[in-house]
């Protein structure tokens, strides 16, 4: 049996890393580093649920850790990296609405906001300090992911932002309550389908592949040339 205080300390350290990874996703311009950061973030999440399993000894948490590891650390990143190779774009340089610095400042505000909001709501709920922080980090991660979806231009980065939002929801769920396992599985299936669809579409949007250009040329409505 491992000392629960040690575990709690470890989880708190992981929280900090999760926040750092979210900030990196907001600001990094290199596409493959964004993907790596996302993979690390999902791995941290799997680790957190594993540590929680060590604390609580609930089999469900272990399953969840395994599921996260399989889907979000291995399957989805693999799929996205294949797509990234295909579309041959290394960097996502352009930001809409917000530059990275502003979004980082904004995300600090969002973290504070979710802290205040949740502390008011959770007054009647008897959550321990650790679990409360977990919930706060979860909500902030969701909001920071939303910033990524808004501010990034390339679809692939938007997908990663969406995925990091989903990580936030999972984190929140992990610390606030236990959702029935079947639902977790279904959500992951849903996520995989959604990611596949959007990334396949992203090939059409982001790529400079010749065949897509030709396809666009064939169309009559958008009489050629304007978007090429």
């Amino acid at each position: 049996m491992i000392d629960p205080f040690l575990l709690e300390g470890l989880i708190k350290i992981l929280f900090v890393f999760v926040l750092i990874s979210a900030a990196l996703i907001i600001s990094t311009r290199n596409l493959s580093s964004v993907l790596t950061t996302y993979t690390i973030q999902s791995f941290l999440l799997a680790l957190v649920s594993f540590l929680l399993y060590l604390m609580d000894e609930k089999g469900q948490l272990l399953l969840l850790a395994g599921l996260t590891l399989a889907s979000k650390v291995i399957l989805i990143p693999y799929f996205i990296s294949r797509i990234e190779e295909k579309i041959k774009i290394g960097r996502d340089l352009h930001f809409t609405y917000l530059e990275p610095t502003t979004s980082l400042l904004l995300s600090i505000g969002l973290i504070l906001l979710s802290y205040v909001f949740l502390s008011r709501i959770f007054e009647d709920l008897s959550l321990s300090k650790l679990f409360f922080f977990g919930a706060v980090i979860g909500v902030s991660l969701t909001l920071m992911g939303m910033l990524v979806v808004f501010s990034r231009r390339k679809v692939i980065t938007k997908v990663l932002g969406y995925l990091s939002m989903e990580n936030g929801v999972l984190m929140f769920g992990l610390f606030v309550t236990e959702i029935p396992f079947i639902i977790e599985v279904l959500i992951i299936i849903d996520l995989v389908i959604l990611v596949m669809l959007t990334t396949i579409l992203a090939v059409g949007m982001d790529s400079s592949i010749e065949e897509y250009r030709q396809k666009f040329r064939k169309l009559q409505i958008w009489t050629g040339g304007r978007y090429l």
Binding site: I121, Y162, L186, L197, K215
Partner: protein
């Protein structure tokens, strides 16, 4: 029972992959929609409602009613789809290879929507609503043109991003039930039975989050931005189907509101709904005023109607809810009529823009008339069903505040004015040579000597005037049928419908 349904539908989808001919694929899709329509009617007539089967399947009047609307919309769309996709393929816009994907997504959308509606569990509802977004995005992207893909991605990102917030709300709700009942649950029925014991602030927080998600699905401002793009870029059929999915969002909101209606949070939730509704209507009606794109005009009118539905739900009286439910039906009927004729006009002019439409009455007289009648219906003119619905919702809104009614009325007038503005400007464009040509042909008869000159001129003019698009068989039938149905509903309120709506209100605990 749910297993049998999924099994049958699985076999059905597998069957749908086999045929090569378009006719067969289309009749399978139409058959599927009609089957759903028939089963829903049968369930409404035979079953003793509300009925529960197993852990997850739940049938009551509300979800059967929404399913009825959905299946009706799908059936009409399936009949229209044949001719429409044929002409899309002929024009080279739709790759024939994608036709199978189109029908696959069509059937999948209907199935996922059905499963979502009939699941008793909120989380399952959430997941299947997400899947409907995926299918609908596929339908929008089916033309695989850059702008379509762009619209589809926007749709998927905005809706599923907001739906993640809804999931946060569900987690709140789950925690709440765990707190009160000892064991967490997300089943509608159990939540509805115990919601009055939940702590109001938490309930309100969860309602707000869930509202963001379902509101985005329904196309409520400020989460409506996917809607105009999806409507304008997608083929008409896809637009109709994604429009039908808006009802799922409204369905979720009705259920959620019914949950917290008994608690202290009800007044604040009503406020949220009414403010969001007013904002949607205001934004939509001002965007409509100078709208030159027909499908965007229809899309913004959708946002406006969803806003009015929200206000109706927010008022919270049984009467308002009754008319909200009726409104959902009428809105779907009329919105489909509009999109059907807009689709025909788009095939004619290859554009949705007002300035590209010329000689509408000469080229597509029936589509033009249907569009005019549809516009009259959508703004809520008397012989059509939206009139009583709007009238009573506005009347009930006066109980909240007379200023609200006044503001709504003004904005609705603005929306009507924008429809009138559009129609007048689009339909009054007549090629001026046209008159001369007629004049010329008359004079040609009288003065044979000048005939050569005129034939030359006529030949030139004829090349200016585009050939009328031949509307394919079956494309007009659904529009006419829905128009007749809407007119009938407007003139005569059937007794079975009234009892159905009454029992929905009773089941939601309003009376």
């Amino acid at each position: 029972m749910i297993r049998y349904y999924l099994l049958i539908m699985g076999i059905f989808l597998a069957l749908g992959l086999i045929p090569k001919s378009h006719r067969l694929m289309n009749s399978l899709a139409a058959g599927n929609a009609l089957l759903h329509l028939f089963l829903t009617c049968a369930a409404l007539l035979i079953l003793d409602l509300p009925a529960r089967y197993g852990d997850y399947l739940y049938l009551d009047h509300l979800n059967l009613y929404v399913e009825l609307i959905t299946a009706l919309g799908f059936s009409a769309a399936a009949f229209y789809a044949k001719g429409y996709t044929d002409s899309l393929m002929e024009a080279g816009d739709l790759d024939p290879k994608n036709l199978k994907t189109f029908y696959l997504a069509f059937n999948l959308l209907l199935i996922t929507a059905t499963v979502a509606l009939f699941s008793d569990n909120l989380a399952l509802f959430w997941i299947f609503v997400e899947l409907t977004t995926v299918c609908a995005a596929m339908l929008v992207a089916i033309l695989s043109a850059r702008e379509n893909i762009d619209a589809a991605l926007k749709y998927a990102f905005i809706v599923s991003g907001s739906m993640l917030f809804a999931f946060l709300g569900l987690i709140f709700l789950f925690t709440l039930s765990e707190l009160t009942l000892g064991e967490g649950t997300l089943s509608w029925t159990e939540l509805a039975a115990n919601a009055s014991h939940f702590s109001p602030p938490l309930l309100l927080a969860s309602f707000t989050f869930v509202f963001i998600g379902f509101g985005a699905k329904a196309g409520i401002a400020p989460f409506h931005t996917w809607l105009p793009d999806a409507y304008a870029r997608a083929p008409s059929v896809s637009a109709i189907l994604s429009g039908l999915m808006q009802n799922l969002g409204i369905y979720g909101i009705i259920r959620m509101y019914a949950l917290l209606k008994e608690s202290d949070a009800a007044s604040q939730a009503s406020l949220i709904l009414i403010v969001a509704g007013v904002f949607s209507i205001a934004l939509a009606s001002f965007s409509m005023l100078q709208q030159r794109n027909l499908k965007k005009l229809i899309a913004f009118s959708s946002v406006e109607h969803m806003g009015l539905l929200l206000i109706g739900i927010g008022i919270g009286t049984p009467l308002a809810l009754f008319w909200v439910l009726f409104y959902m039906l009428g809105h779907v009927l009329i919105k489909e009529i509009l999109l059907f004729s807009a689709g025909i006009l788009h095939r004619q002019y290859r554009s949705n823009m007002r300035e590209d439409m010329k000689d509408v009455f000469k080229l597509q007289p029936r589509a033009a008339w249907v569009l005019i009648l549809g516009s009259i219906a959508i703004v809520g003119m008397p012989p059509f069903p939206l009139f009583p619905a709007k009238f009573f919702i506005l009347l009930e809104s006066a109980a909240v505040s007379p200023y609200l009614t006044l503001a709504l009325l003004l904005m609705l007038i603005l929306a009507s004015a924008s429809f009138a503005n559009f129609l007048l400007k689009a339909f009054s464009r007549v090629t001026p040579e046209e008159e001369k040509e007629e004049h010329g042909s008359k004079s040609r008869v009288s003065e044979r000597t000048e005939s050569e000159k005129f034939t030359e001129k006529i030949g030139y003019k004829k090349s200016i005037l585009p050939a009328p698009y031949t509307v394919r068989k079956g494309m007009r039938i659904p529009a006419i049928f829905l128009l007749a149905l809407a007119l009938a509903l407007g003139l005569y309120f059937p007794e079975p419908l009234r009892t159905l709506l009454d029992s929905i209100i009773l089941e939601l605990g309003y009376l």
